[in-house]
Symmetry: C3
Subunit: 157 residues, 3 copies
Amino acid sequence: MADKSTIVLFSGDLDKAIAAFIIANGAAAYDHEVTIFFTFWGLNVLRKDKAVKTNKGLLEKAFGWMMPRGAKKLGLSKLNVGGLGPQMIKHVMKKHNALSLPQLIELAKEQGVKLVACTMTMDLLGLKQEELIDDLEYAGVAAYLGDASNGKVNLFI
Amino acid sequence: MADKSTIVLFSGDLDKAIAAFIIANGAAAYDHEVTIFFTFWGLNVLRKDKAVKTNKGLLEKAFGWMMPRGAKKLGLSKLNVGGLGPQMIKHVMKKHNALSLPQLIELAKEQGVKLVACTMTMDLLGLKQEELIDDLEYAGVAAYLGDASNGKVNLFI
Amino acid sequence: MADKSTIVLFSGDLDKAIAAFIIANGAAAYDHEVTIFFTFWGLNVLRKDKAVKTNKGLLEKAFGWMMPRGAKKLGLSKLNVGGLGPQMIKHVMKKHNALSLPQLIELAKEQGVKLVACTMTMDLLGLKQEELIDDLEYAGVAAYLGDASNGKVNLFI
């Protein structure tokens, strides 16, 4: 039976999301069954970059405005410098032929990494399925624990 | 023998503390023996909300003043906006009938989740046992490693 | 066979680095084979405190200037207060005879904790081997996953 690995991606920071996907893609390349469970700010990694019309309350709209819209808009956990840091990181990644975050996400999908959006925090932050990218699963903490209980490597990022 | 799970709660952010307790309560519901080990800023989650008279040096007093006093006073890791963010999160949690952090802590106690305060960082930050909520255990890194070595899911939050 | 434990140290914050080394040294004292894998900002923990002449592009130089130069220069994840917080923490650690971060790093080396610098993020941030302290190993995510797949306690800090 294949080894399992799970990552809870709680953070919506570009640098942490990159780290999560590099580990996930690495584990998938070693034939681990890998799940990334996106919760809280991590859900922003999965947002479509264009606004989607939805029927929301004011607070949910406010969260929607204040949070970054997808993998191309994320800030850094350090040295963000008003958006300069992410540009610097993206520049050096391109220079070194490293995959960008959107490419890492595509690779993860191709390798069968299971991308799970936490439905409870989607409700809290007012995020709807139609605002998130395709090919996701939707589940709660019970599904996460089911995977993690059999996981070899379980990380919270 | 029951599965074991451990969480090191290093963070004193409301959002991360909520995530930690949701995972811990979920694991306890699946009959895992769960330990949350509170260290550094995570100890602030356990502070009583009223000041307790203690005999402390000036530096320890300064830490006491600067750090949030308990689960109701914590900030967010993102979108804190001077305390507006935590109010927004508490509001949407109430609206969705999600348990508040104080309720999640009570539920954890009822389910037998072991709440352990790290004595070494208590010393460093000048926190006394009488300043923390009831029903805690007090231990160091050795006790944590004893639990984690047999843990199925070990997270650092 | 000895138990294995791994820590990914992604953070370059003093408080998180201290937590990582306390856990690593504790696990080593229990005869675990311990690896700390330093990536992204965590690499700053390993920088020499004196500038080393290297041949770098402008962006890599900029990262070098903006990031803290070694274990003595790190900030706190909370209560940094422009560098006051780290001084307070160092003061109380000394008062309580706790080992400083540079001492914790030395102890880790003496106990045979494997300190691995992530070569991919070294490239991105423009850090050269001669800028980092001695006795390190250099590897990528594959080496990390090899260790973590056999790890009892795997943390991301």
